[in-house]
């Protein structure tokens, strides 16, 4: 049987079946079309300007390594005029980051880029290993995700850089879209697809140049370019709910390869259908740039592999429980309001300011209220947040209360008494 020729150059032997569309390509043509597509994404969205300093969120994993390699290649080939820097976060997970950070250090040499490593301990006073000691393995992804999101921005700020690029790929975006549908989270649905998050009000912009790149193609690219990357799953994410959306995406891809891209497309279209009162942003603006909030959207350098995020299986069960309580409250409410007016003065529990006379028609869907999100900054740390106190500070407060420990930076915590309590906790820890 004659070997199949590459569908593009028609000269070399086809060695690769493109996961995205099953096109048969030779190695060179695959590499060049992969790069051309990223270039297309960058230019068609005007992602960068000449002279920009860009921090690449680097975890040592395949996505960020490919991102760094492709950006270096394109920056030289098309003369973008970018100043590229690697930025890594050390969550403080023994055996996980040790090796991947070594990879990043080698990448820095290979790509001739400066590298900055920021540790959770210096930013928050807690390593992830310490966090897990306190709260256990369940739900710690919440902490990791929230902390990492800020860590990249804070690290970038330290370097005087206002644009961070991350290695999120099409599979990640598709997964997030399905997850936000499952969670019923319209605000996040509205912003999870935009290539750039953060606007003029924020110090640091984030973007995802690989947003249309299939994970499988990223792996192929890394393999055929013989890139030096590190493969490991985060030790602390055994049972994430995101995993369920992820396996769904993988199955969809098997049934119809275009499905990942199609989900991303659907997500972009749906973002325009989310009512303005939910997003708090006007339509014309939301298409390209949307608010980023510091409340734990899946962001970061992709450090948690396939199952990053705040969504443990326990959280899915928690949500189920909460929804059931809401439903029960709503059904009680309807029971009351449909009774005779003699009982109309009885207000159902859990529903403040509800008028039983209008309740019957006004709340047909028993749905939760649409919550508007507005961007401000955290009262404690000044970091951009849609809440009064940002998620990281809220989490830290809980951590510090539960198990005080010694080495906390004073810029996170403020008053003396809590420092004292922390010291005492540290003493107790040492004694035990």
């Amino acid at each position: 049987m004659a070997p199949t020729l590459c569908a593009i150059c028609q000269i070399a032997r086809a060695l690769i079946i493109r996961p995205k569309n099953h096109q048969k390509l030779c190695r060179e043509c695959f590499i060049s079309i992969f790069e051309a597509e990223i270039h297309h994404t960058i230019t068609s969205t005007s992602l960068f300007s000449r002279g920009d300093r860009i921090a690449i969120g680097a975890s040592g994993g395949k996505d960020s390594t490919v991102l760094a390699s492709v950006l270096k290649t394109l920056n030289e080939r098309y003369d973008y005029g970018l100043d590229l820097v690697l930025l890594s976060i050390d969550e403080g997970i023994k055996g996980y980051r040790d090796d991947s950070l070594e990879t990043v250090k080698r990448n820095a040499v290979q790509y001739d880029m400066p590298l900055k490593i920021v540790g959770y301990d210096e930013l928050y006073g807690w390593t992830m290993d310490q966090v897990v000691e306190v709260i256990g393995k369940k739900g710690n992804c919440t902490y990791c995700g929230v902390f990492r999101r800020q860590a990249l921005d804070r690290g970038a700020k330290m370097l005087g850089i206002n644009h961070v690029v991350t290695g999120h790929n099409a599979d990640d975006i598709a997964e997030t879209i399905l997850m936000n549908l499952l969670r019923g989270d319209l605000p996040r649905l509205a912003r999870s697809t935009s290539i750039v998050t953060g606007d003029s009000a924020s110090d640091v912009r984030r973007s995802k140049p690989l947003k249309y790149a299939y994970e499988k193609e990223i792996v192929l690219y890394a393999h055929h370019k013989k890139l030096d990357y590190f493969t490991t799953e985060c030790l602390y994410s055994p049972e994430a709910f995101r995993g369920s959306a992820r396996s769904l995406i993988k199955n969809l891809e098997r049934v119809r390869p275009s499905a990942i891209l199609d989900v991303v497309r659907s997500g972009e279209d749906m973002a325009k259908l989310v009512p303005e009162e939910v997003t708090g942003i006007s339509q014309c603006k939301s298409q390209k740039v949307s608010l980023s909030s510091a409340d734990g959207e899946r962001e970061g350098a992709g450090g948690c592999g396939s199952s990053n995020g705040r969504n443990s299986g326990g959280e899915m069960a928690d949500m189920e429980k909460k929804l059931q309580q809401d439903e029960e409250a709503a059904s009680r409410e309807i029971d009351v309001s449909s009774l005779a007016s003699s009982t109309a003065h009885i207000h159902p529990p859990e529903k403040k300011g509800h008028d039983p006379k209008t309740g019957k028609t006004g709340r047909k869907d028993a749905g939760r209220k649409l919550v508007k999100q507005t961007l401000g900054s955290c009262k404690k740390c000044g970091y951009m947040s849609s809440q009064e106190v940002c998620k990281a500070c809220t989490l830290l407060e809980g951590l510090n209360k539960n198990r005080p420990q010694m080495e906390i930076e004073t810029d996170v915590e403020d008053n003396e008494s809590s420092t004292l309590r922390r010291r005492m906790g540290g003493v107790a820890l040492a004694a035990g």
Partner: protein, 376 residues
């Protein structure tokens, strides 16, 4: 709660937490309830959604509603519920606020299947004789006007000699099982809308449960039809000038399945139960995205029923785009925003040279989802 305590004291038989009289045999959320209360619960949920069509003022003429009957548990249950509802209206006021025009569409071309369908429909007629019944075949959609047949590489639809063969050939030419099922459901919807218009119905009552609507939300998303969700999932949304209603939208698939066996007499011999989706494998060539989602939600519904319902509630909050600047898709007919048609020329299509000549030759507007099914 005294009912609980008594139930526990009496041994295994807990009392219904609603009526506190009968033994609890079923479960609604965390409550154990009796058969009677379960049937009442399902019926009430459906009838509540029919409030739009309740009797108002002195209007004498009943509103005509198209009722597509698939013989599945949902449409059978809904027909049973609405039949009783109409009967109740007659008993109380000697008139009904609406009447049902029942139609069954044959999706299979095999004559044996069609004969079975005819026999089953006869059973429905004798059980619910109040309504008008008719049967159509999916290939009847091939005679519809207003569909861009050229996009499907078909000649003009009218005067087709052998429509069933044409349909077979059309579906056979699709590149994947998903594209095939996508085109089938599009043709089905268009045919139903056409029937609704011809029989002067103002809306179509679909039997979709909340589980089915959640499935549909994710299925359409996965097919690149996210833009169309406001029309596909919201209650009362107008497509093509006809309202789409889903009276069973507040009930789980499981609840409806149970209900269909509890009516008096049971609907069991009228219902064709769909095969369980648990055996579906993603590596099979015949597996569709629809199958995968059905399977997925079967497991989610098992453990997290409220999350299923929440998906539908959330999706219903999406707003359709304003009418201006839209063109109807040549296939599914849904409004496509200007400049967003086809699978080429958006951010995710990163290669300007990837546009095949076919797309250029064909100038009709197709939405992303239809374009995907035809082109891949």
């Amino acid at each position: 709660m005294s009912g609980d305590i008594e139930g526990q004291q009496n041994g295994n038989t807990a009392l219904c937490q609603r009526c506190h009289e009968e033994a609890a045999t079923h479960q609604i959320r965390s409550d154990g309830i009796c058969t009677k209360c379960f049937v009442a619960y399902v019926t009430t949920k459906a009838i509540k959604r029919m409030e739009t069509y309740k009797i108002r003022g002195t209007t004498k003429t009943a509103r005509r509603l198209l009722f597509p009957l698939s013989f599945g548990p949902s449409s059978a249950s809904l027909l049973h519920i609405l039949d009783q509802h109409i009967q109740g209206q007659y008993l109380r006021m000697n008139r009904a606020s609406y009447e049902l025009v029942v139609v069954h569409i044959n999706l299979y071309v095999d004559p044996v299947d069609r004969k079975d369908a005819d026999l089953l429909l006869e059973k429905y007629k004798s059980r619910f004789p109040r309504h008008t019944y008719s049967t159509l075949n999916l290939e009847d959609a091939l005679t519809l006007e207003g569909i861009d047949w050229k996009a499907l590489k078909m000649e003009e639809p009218l005067n087709t000699q052998n429509p069933a063969d044409k349909l077979q050939a059309l579906l056979g030419s699709m590149s994947s099982a998903t594209s095939r099922s996508d085109i089938v459901s599009t043709l089905l919807t268009r045919l139903l809308v056409d029937v609704a218009k011809k029989s002067e119905c103002e809306s179509i009552l679909f039997g979709d449960s909340t589980s089915r609507l959640a499935e549909k939300t994710l299925t359409e998303t996965a097919k690149g039809r996210g833009f169309s969700l406001p029309w596909q999932v919201s209650d009362g949304a107008l497509s093509y000038g006809i309202a789409f209603n889903y009276p069973l939208r507040d009930l789980l698939k499981k609840e409806i399945q149970t209900f269909s066996s509890l009516t008096t007499p049971p609907l069991t011999d009228l219902v064709i139960n769909p095969k369980s989706s648990s055996h579906i494998s993603a590596s099979s060539k015949t597996t569709t995205i629809d199958d995968l989602m059905a399977q997925y939600f079967e497991t989610v519904e098992e453990n997290f029923p409220s999350i299923v319902a929440n998906v539908v509630r959330t999706t219903s909050k999406l707003k359709s785009l304003p009418d201006e600047d839209t063109t109807s898709c040549g296939l599914c007919g849904l409004p496509v925003a200007k400049g967003t048609d086809g699978i080429y020329g958006w951010g995710g299509d990163q290669n300007t040279s990837s546009q095949p000549t076919e797309e250029k030759l064909h100038h009709g507007i197709l939405c992303y989802g239809c374009s995907r099914s035809i082109n891949s």
